[in-house]
Amino acid sequence: MTADSEKQERADHESGHDHGHQHVPSDTALRVKALESLLVEKGLVDPAALDAFIDYYEHEVGPRNGAKVVARAWTDPEFRAWLMKDATAAVASLGYMGRQGEHLVAVENTPQTHNLVVCTLCSCYPWSVLGLPPVWYKSDAYRAKAVIDPRGTLRDFGLELGPEVEIKVWDSTAEIRYLVIPERPAGSEGLSEEALADLVSRDAMIGTAKAALGGDAAS
């Protein structure tokens, strides 16, 4: 409790409240605080482990992990074959492990096939390689439209595909998450693996964008 309280104290200092008493957090924040303190008391969670989780997801996991997986697949045919056969193991070999015991499946874009990932039920997402999902991934509009009208959905994202391209929609579940391996952009032949990873945006690995030279994939 003490460490927790001190953390809150620091947070309150930083927020710059200058009242005589502490600013009372929102009802929602209090609900979380109540839940957390009860779970800690019951020995069901370790507060230090919670902080480590938050730090990990805020700073260490992000779409960069996935981009490195894609760049490796583009440059190493053996890794690519392994990734397509058993993405969970291939990705774990790079140190990116799922925490919910879920299976990761890699789906590859080709000139004839474009893959798009959605979670129609909630927002299952390949966190171990992409970090946390963007807001639009969690929206009703995306979750519904990606399935009903994938071509129109891609158009909403500014991606117009020719009629000859088949679009495959993959609906994530609690057990299976999908990672799209975008096509390697033409003209990227001379680039290093690291430079290639910079071409791969989060959206390209969900399927709402393509990997592109000169694109801003830093998000």
Partner: protein, 121 residues
Amino acid sequence: MNRPDPDLDTLGPIPRGNDGPVFAEPWQAEAFALVLKLAEEERFTWPEWAAALSDEIARARAAGGPDDGGDYYERWLAALETLLARKGLVEPGDLSERKNAWAEAYARTPHGEPVRLSVDH
């Protein structure tokens, strides 16, 4: 050329490009971490969690909640409370009592001092 299916119109636009910080507020990160940690400790399974969250999202939509994902962590928290109550791990009564105790502790603690719950002894 194709007119969109009327059903799609009711969905509204997909809120693209609205990334912002990973967590909008600290409580969202805490609620997120609680679920991951509890699942890791096998207090519930991940499929149980996914079912609880999708039920909660569906319930909120049926009640006319926002559909842009903006209340995602609110739903996350509600699903967690529901699942923990169902599992008998945290009783709703204890939760609201503890919440009030925290609110009271914040209100009575002078600024600059650590916020602590009342101690009974």
